[in-house]
């Protein structure tokens, strides 16, 4: 794939998108991102930090 520098001639490729277009993209992007954020901290990560902490107390560092 070498599409990274495509259509440099169009006005939008130069960053002159309308505010409404930018807002629409931003809203959808945040919606799918926040879907994950709303899941909070899965137990595995809480447990992981707890485990690492306990390991420290015993002084058995890896």
């Amino acid at each position: 794939m070498d599409t990274s520098s495509s259509s440099p001639t169009s006005a939008r490729a130069q960053g002159r998108l309308g505010r409404d277009v930018q807002a629409k993209i931003g809203n959808q992007l945040r919606a799918i991102y926040d879907d994950v954020v709303k899941e909070g901290v899965p137990d595995r990560f809480v447990d992981l930090l707890k485990r690492l902490d306990q390991k420290d107390e015993k002084g058995s560092e890896s």
């Binding site: 794939m1 599409t3 990274s4 495509s6 259509s7 169009s10 939008r12 490729a13 130069q14 960053g15 998108l17 309308g18 409404d20 277009v21 930018q22 629409k24 993209i25 931003g26 959808q28 992007l29 945040r30 919606a31 799918i32 991102y33 926040d34 879907d35 994950v36 954020v37 709303k38 899941e39 909070g40 901290v41 899965p42 595995r44 990560f45 809480v46 992981l48 930090l49 690492l52 902490d53 420290d56 560092e61 890896s62």
Partner: protein, 183 residues
């Protein structure tokens, strides 16, 4: 090393956003969670290099991104169609925003070059400033700005989001149809 409770809380507080970023990078929830786990292990092993009071989320995002980058390079050698597998794995995600509009958006997002997608997400969804995003990605602020602009432009093109021209093609099509039927 002794994990300060305030540091632990700051790390945990960043996890939801780290996961969202990781999923957007690798397009697969299981792989993303493994990446987050690796990130946390790496971070805690190097916690002395974190300056108290500095930006914890940015620090963790930087570690995660670097881990992903080194893994991605490895995988790229193994899997030729990296973008294709990314797009496919996206479809298997559990999602609340699962209706058509968002599916189109997801697949458009998946088609962006990784540099552009990453920049857009850091600035547009994670809420980092251009300066922070530049630091996380190890590049110039101007580079981030141009990646974000190109990402938005390509998404707008792929999704045919128009501001005023929306009715344009339709009118033209109707005109052509009217023209051809009147003969």
């Amino acid at each position: 090393m002794n994990l300060d409770p305030s540091v632990r809380d700051a790390v945990l507080a960043a996890v939801p956003s780290l996961r969202a970023f990781a999923i957007s990078l690798c397009g697969n929830v299981d792989r993303a969670d493994d990446l987050v786990q690796e990130t946390l292990l790496r971070a805690l092993a190097n916690i002395e290099s974190f300056e108290p009071g500095s930006n914890m989320p940015a620090w963790l995002f930087t570690i995660l991104r670097n881990l992903f980058r080194s893994e991605y390079r490895k995988r790229r050698r193994e899997v030729e169609d990296a973008d294709g597998t990314y797009a496919q794995s996206l479809k298997s995600q559990p999602e609340q925003t699962g209706h058509v509009e968002f599916q189109e958006f997801r697949s458009a997002l998946a088609k962006l070059p990784p540099d552009q997608r990453e920049a857009l997400i850091l600035v547009g969804a994670s809420g980092f400033s251009y300066e922070e995003a530049a630091e996380i990605c190890g590049c110039a602020v101007g580079t981030i700005k141009s990646r974000v602009n190109r990402a938005r432009a390509r998404l707008a093109d792929m999704l045919s989001i128009e501001s005023v021209e929306d009715i344009g093609p339709d009118v033209a099509t109707r005109a052509i149809l009217a023209d051809s039927t009147s003969r």
